[in-house]
Amino acid sequence: MLKKKRNLVALSILLLLTIATITADVWLPVSPGFIDAAQRLLPPSGTFWFGTDHFGRDVFALTVVAARVSLTVGFTVAVLATILGTITGLIAGYYKKADFIIMRVIDGMLAFPSLLLALALVAALGGSVTNIIIALTFSFWPVMTRIVRSAVLQINSVQYIEAAKTSGVSDPVVISKYVLPNVLSPIIVQGTFIFAKAILAEAALSFLGVGVDPSTPTWGNMLQESQIYISIAPWISIFPGLAIVVTVLALNMLGDGLRDSFDPHARKNKKRKQHFVKTKIAS
C-alpha cells in the first residue's frame, strides 16, 4: 500500500510540474524574462519566492519556465531510446544471427561512459535542443537493447511461444502479440530511469557550456550562470538545483515503485538485481 502511495505522489509531482510549466504564461505574475535592475540579487521573499537573479529576474518564474526544455528533452529521449532499444532488443533476442552483430555494436557503444558519448556527439553536432536529444538518445538506447534482449531470451523458450512458432504463426505476429507484451514491464521501468538520467545529463551538458544555447532558460543554464554569485546570492543556485532533484527523484521513485509492483517477489527474484545491475551499467 505504501508503495502505491509513493507511486501516486511521484506521478502527481510530475503531472503538476508539467501542467505548471505549460501554462506558465497564463498564471505567472511576472514574465520570466522581465528585467528590473532595481531588484537585483534580492533574497527569497513574499513577492519573489525564490529571490531574484543578477538581472533582477524572478528566479521562481525562470525555474518554472526552464522545466519546459528539461522535461521535453528528458521525455523525448526516453521515448526515442525506448523505441530504438525495444526494436533492436526484440530482434537481437529473437533472431540468433542478428543477435551477434547487434550485441557487438551495443557492447562497443557501452564502452563509453554515457555522459562522455553525449559530450563527444554534441561537440560534433553542435548544441541545439534537437542535437542534444539525438546525442542523449544515442547514449541511452544501448542499455534498453540489452534489457529487452535478456527479457526476450528468458521467455523465448516458454511453451506458449514455442507453440505459436510451431503452429505456423509468422515471426512479426509472434513478436508483437506474444513476446512484446511479456517483456513490457522491464521496458517501462527502464524507460522511466532513462527519463530521469536524460534530465540529469541535459543539465550537466548545459552546465558545462556545451548544451542548449545559454539564452534559453534551462535548469543547467541557470546553474551555470549562478556560479559566480553563489557566495552572495546562493538562492539563484539552490532553487533550480532543487527543481532538478525533485523531478529526477520523482522519476526514480516511480521507476523503483513500478519495478516492485510488476515484480511482487522482487526480493527473492534474481530479476530485480539484474535490472539494477543493468541500470547501473548505463550510468
Binding site: 562497443g108 543539465a203 550537466a204 532533484v245 526480493r267 550510468s283
Partner: protein, 314 residues
C-alpha cells in the same frame, strides 16, 4: 580458465572496432567542412586546404579511417590543432590529476558503501531499510555539479577547511595532494556510494535466506558472524563486477568534477578542447577513456572467472 581468457580477449576486438568507428566519426558528423569549423569562417582557402591535408580530410572516408586506425595502433593520435603538440603526450600530461581524483573517490566509495550495506542488511527488519532505499534513490537524483557547488559554498567558502580549487601533484607533498583532493573526490563518490551500497544490499539480501545461511544459524552461530562470513563473503564476488562499473561512473563524472574544481585532468582537457573545436584532442580523450574502460572491464571479468569458476562455463 585458458579457454575463457582467450574467448574474453577475443571479444574485445569487435568492441574496439565499434569504439574506433564512433570516435573516428566525431569529426565527420560535424555539419559542413571540419577544417572551416576549426579555423573559423573568415579563414583563407589555402589555410583550409592545408589543414584538410594535415588532417587527411581530402582522402576518401574509408582510406581516412584505415589511416587513422593504423596511426592509433602506432600510438599516434594526431596533433592538437590548438597547440600543435602530439595528442598522446597532451593526454599523458593530464592523467595524473584524473587518476588521483578517481583513486581517492574509489577509496571513499568502498570504505563508505560496504559498511552501510552490511549495517542495512543487519537491521533489515527495521525502518532503516526503507530509509536506506529512499536515501539511495535521492543520491542517484542529485546532479553531481550542483552538489559540488553546495559543498563548495558550505565547506569551502563558509567554513574554509578544504580548498575548493586547484590540484597539487603528489611530488610536492602527499598531504597537500590529499587535502586538495578531498572535496572533489567526495562529490564524485557520493553517487557511486548510493548505487554500490544498494547493489551490495540486494546481493546480501539474496544470500540471507539461502540454505547455507540457515544451516549456519541453526548451528547457533551468532548473526553478526553469519552476516560477515556467509552473507557478505558470498555477496562480495558479484561485487567485483561492480568495481568495473564504478570506474566507468567515475570516468564519466570526472569531466564535471574537474571543471568545477579546476583540476587540470583529462576531463577539463576534453571540455576545453570542445570549446576550442580541437577535434584531434577530443577524439584522443574519448578514445583513451573508452580504452581504459574496456581494459578494466576485461580485467574485472578475468578476475571474476578466477574467483568464481562457474562463470567460465557460461
Amino acid at each position: 580458465m585458458l579457454q575463457y581468457t582467450i574467448r574474453r580477449l577475443l571479444s574485445i576486438i569487435p568492441v574496439m572496432l565499434v569504439v574506433s568507428i564512433i570516435v573516428f566519426m566525431i569529426v565527420h558528423l560535424t555539419p559542413g567542412n571540419p577544417a572551416y569549423l576549426i579555423l573559423g569562417e573568415d579563414s583563407s582557402a589555402e589555410a583550409v586546404q592545408q589543414l584538410e591535408e594535415q588532417l587527411g580530410l581530402d582522402q576518401p572516408i574509408v582510406v581516412q579511417f584505415f589511416d587513422w586506425v593504423t596511426n592509433v595502433f602506432k600510438g599516434d593520435l594526431g596533433e592538437s590543432v590548438y597547440s600543435s603538440e602530439p595528442v598522446l603526450s597532451i593526454i599523458l600530461d593530464r592523467i595524473g590529476p584524473t587518476f588521483s581524483v578517481m583513486l581517492i573517490s574509489m577509496i571513499f566509495t568502498l570504505v563508505i558503501a560496504i559498511p552501510i550495506a552490511i549495517f542495512v542488511v543487519w537491521k533489515r527488519q527495521t525502518v532503516l531499510d526503507p530509509l536506506f532505499i529512499s536515501a539511495s534513490l535521492l543520491g542517484a537524483s542529485i546532479p553531481e555539479f550542483w552538489f559540488a557547488m553546495l559543498l563548495v559554498l558550505g565547506l569551502g567558502v563558509s567554513i574554509p577547511i578544504f580548498p575548493v580549487a586547484g590540484y597539487i601533484p603528489i611530488a610536492e607533498g602527499f598531504l597537500l595532494w590529499l587535502h586538495h583532493l578531498i572535496l572533489p573526490a567526495f562529490v564524485l563518490a557520493t553517487v557511486e556510494i548510493g548505487l554500490i551500497s544498494r547493489m551490495l544490499r540486494d546481493g546480501m539480501l539474496e544470500a540471507v535466506n539461502q540454505d547455507y545461511t540457515k544451516t549456519a544459524r541453526a548451528k547457533g552461530i551468532k548473526e553478526s558472524v553469519v552476516l560477515m562470513k556467509h552473507v557478505f563473503a558470498n555477496a562480495l564476488i558479484p561485487t567485483t563486477t561492480v568495481i568495473g562499473v564504478t570506474i566507468a561512473g567515475l570516468l564519466g563524472g570526472t569531466v564535471i568534477i574537474e571543471t568545477i574544481f579546476t583540476i587540470p585532468g583529462i576531463g577539463q582537457l576534453l571540455i576545453d578542447s570542445i570549446h576550442r573545436r580541437d577535434y584531434p584532442v577530443i577524439q584522443g580523450v574519448v578514445l583513451f577513456i573508452a580504452v581504459i574502460y574496456v581494459v578494466i572491464n576485461l580485467l574485472v571479468d578475468l578476475l571474476y572467472g578466477l574467483l568464481d569458476p562457474r562463470i567460465r562455463y557460461d
